[in-house]
Amino acid sequence: MIEKALLKERFVKWVLIAFALSSLLFLFLIFIFILAEGLPLFLKVGVGNIIGGFKWAPTRGSFGIFPMIVSSFLVTIGALAIGAPMGLSCAIYLSEYSGKKTQMLLKPALELLAGIPSVVYGFLGVIYIVPLVRNYLGGSGFSLLSTSIILGVMILPTIISISFDALISVPKTYREGSFAMGATKWQTIYKVILPSAKSGILASFILGMGRAIGETMAVIMIAGNALKIPGSILDPLRTLTGNIALELSYASGDHRLGLFSTGVVLMVIIMILNYIANFGIKRKIAK
């Protein structure tokens, strides 16, 4: 009887291990697949000509994606400029000021915000943000600014939830100590809590960046996708993800490989961002 139960126990454990490892396997397979498809072109055309090249005309043998790398970063910085102050303010309010009731209202609302499909954000952007920008600021409306606004909203849940965790994990004794010294609430937040939660907050910004740089659908719909590096915030631009999604359906031969090379560059950028967020910053908290 007992032996049978033990056997079952072991069986369940192994099944669980197998499934747990399968996610690792998927990651590994994706990695291998993208590299296998993307690297041949790097060898053929040269890393410099792809990463540093200005001209993207894959059907005529130019595979430069430098403008898209710049655009991806511009959009990400724009999104942070809008999402970071809003997100951090929200997280401070949630952890320091709000009562249980407002928390119970705000937290599910934020989760809902995170769950809205990106195509819906893109649609809202096309219908509302793009015409607003076009009518009041000029340009076609399909621009760096519109894209940054939408992405800024999209990364809010990431920034809020992670920086909220960082703020809430600041020990209560810090706050009590500060109050005991006669500091006001804002002084306490500004001088004590924010500095001690600094690395967690930075990590939330960087994970937000990762989310913004990887966003595709909403970006294609509102960025305008022109190949040039934008000269102002009202100019259209094309991101790395947008490039892949736009052109994959018709691409063949070297053109297709060029898109996979774009994917390799994107993957490396996201890996670096995740590395910084997970190891560079969170490790410091542990110390």
Partner: protein, 269 residues
Amino acid sequence: MIKQLGFLCIIMTCLLSCTGQSHDKTRDKHTITIAGSTSVMPFTEKLAEHFMLDHPKFVIDVQGGGSTAGIQAVLNNTVQIGMSSRELNNKEKMLNSITICHDGISIVLHPKNPITDLTLQQIRDIYNNKIKNWRELGWIDRKIDAVTREEGSGTRGAFEELVMKGKEIDDSIMVQDSNGSIKEVVATDPYAIGYISLGLVDQKVKPVTIDGAIPTIKNIKTGKYKIVRPFLYVTNGELDMYAKEFVDFILSRDGQKILKKEGLVGFYD
């Protein structure tokens, strides 16, 4: 999680067994394989649907992939018929091509835009970024928001060949990835200009006349409207009996009527 995965496995095995079965059944059916241009694909599918209703013994397998991929597939004999929305180039000339119909490309503006006529040269200059402002075309002082299709698209290929004539489409021109999204941009932005397949023009956008010719089926037939591309079926040598029957159906009055209903330019009136 495990439950879901298990469920997935079951579905997949079902699917696999299903395809296996249908494979056996197709043995006494006549299968025609077609691949290529995604511009031609929806019309081929429509034609195939109609054809299979009357000819239950036929199975017509239509796939996309783009004109170039379709022609390549014909060269390798992996499909019987390739669809192309551009003319064959010199390297592909040894293949047979059958023109099934023509498709006009219209240059469209927002309905509020007062401009009604443009020359080919003006359009070329807009997309080459030589003309940047509507003032240069006799309207208000406002930047032109030109939109083009993405690299690799058949419509873009035809536009480059018929309008740009060797000049490059500038990098500052916006890019959208379908006829539908170009139409959406032009319909919402009063300062936009774009190009879409003639069959998709409706009252949301305004087609302009090119050198005085309105893009209509009649003007395309008489050769007055110049931005026209053929929809081709490409074959390697002679077609077999069954594939020929399908092609004959497309070229017949019935087949052409279906194409005309979709806004394409057929051979009959």
